[in-house]
């Protein structure tokens, strides 16, 4: 469960590459080869994880960058981040303390 103050950051073992314009990108964990394809919003979220941020900060930044953000943006962003964490592509504050 991601809380507003949950701190988020990329795993340093993860590599992101942009695909053709409008096609999103791909993230790979170079150690485990775990892999996740991302759409354009996912790519934007990934770019916002360059520095460690809280989930609330990330959502605020995300809303300023998306025209007409959908009602379910928070939930979709949380699902996306959970998917990244499941593949060890992103880390949450609990993970950092372990």
């Amino acid at each position: 469960m991601i809380e507003p103050d949950t701190r988020l950051r990329r795993n340093s073992e993860a590599v992101y590459r942009q695909l053709a314009e409008g096609s999103g990108g791909v993230v790979l964990h170079v150690g485990s080869a775990q892999y996740h394809g991302v759409n354009e919003v996912g790519g934007l979220i990934w770019s916002l994880l360059e520095e460690e941020v809280t989930f609330a900060q990330l959502l605020t930044s995300l809303r300023t960058r998306i025209d007409d953000p959908p009602a379910g943006l928070d939930e979709e962003a949380a699902e996306f981040l959970e998917a990244l964490r499941e593949r060890d592509l992103a880390q949450f504050d609990a993970g950092l303390d372990e």
Binding site: L19, S23, L28, A33, Y35
Partner: protein, 325 residues
Amino acid sequence: MAGRLEGSGTTTGAAGQATVGSCYGFGVTSSVPLQFVRSGSGVPLQIAEERLDDPPGSTRVALFTGHPERPFRAELRQVGGELRLQVNEEGWFGIDTGSGVVTMPPDPDEVHREERLWSYPASLCLRARRDLAVHAAAVEVAGQALVFVAPGGTGKTTLAAAFHQAGYRVLAEDISCCRVTSTPVLFPGPALLRMRPDSAERMDLTGTTVVARDQWRSHLSIDGHRRGTGDPVPIGGVILLKNSEKRDRLTPLEASVAIRNLYAMSFKLPLKEDQAWCFSEVVGLVGAVPGWQLERRRSYETLPLLVEQIVATCCPASVPGASSA
């Protein structure tokens, strides 16, 4: 027909003479006979023969293991600037990518040893050259390379042989060397086919010569007039092979699926920088060439039709009257 072979020989030498030819974009000279190089030149690569040991102080870089049903163990070690590779306790290869020298262990089975040479040792040389080595077969159609990506046992060599049977040139049968730029190219690999004996017997492989047989494989050398040169060939498409029980079907391949499979099938060392580089190359390749997935039945009878279907879909300009849509 455009894309089919014109005659071209190799300069394979007799025992004791230097061999000069091309493989994977290398201009190969060798103090021992090599059977599978093509004509042409490239970045110098010298092949020598010497019994090497694993010297004291070497460190293990990687250990590659095969499928349990087909035991395989390759150990890669580094000593100074040189790599040493031993496969299945068969003696050490020395790979000095800085000097462009590969040293092979003495082995009376020269076919087997050369096949080894063009696998891991060559892949290490390609890595040093910053070219991508992919576990894939490749054929030439209308001046373009079609790359068949698949793990072992998926029938990529059989499919490549079907293209040979139809008059096309086989560019690689197990490892394909890709240089990723805005217009990626493939450097032809060794001119050989390794097939299950029953597969080889069921196909018309005129233009090849059986050079060895064992219980698993017939080893065929592609004859000189069917080899062509080692010059690079533009890559026209990547085709991911998948076995099917139902039918043959060729469909466009999603980029994310292509990347995942190509990355898994690419040669890389277990080093973060190597893996990140490989990933970038794969993404670049997928972004630059079209991809398809081929679901294929294991049927010999339908292979000729399948070849026609692949050519019509992936290289429509080569088919008279075909639409390029």
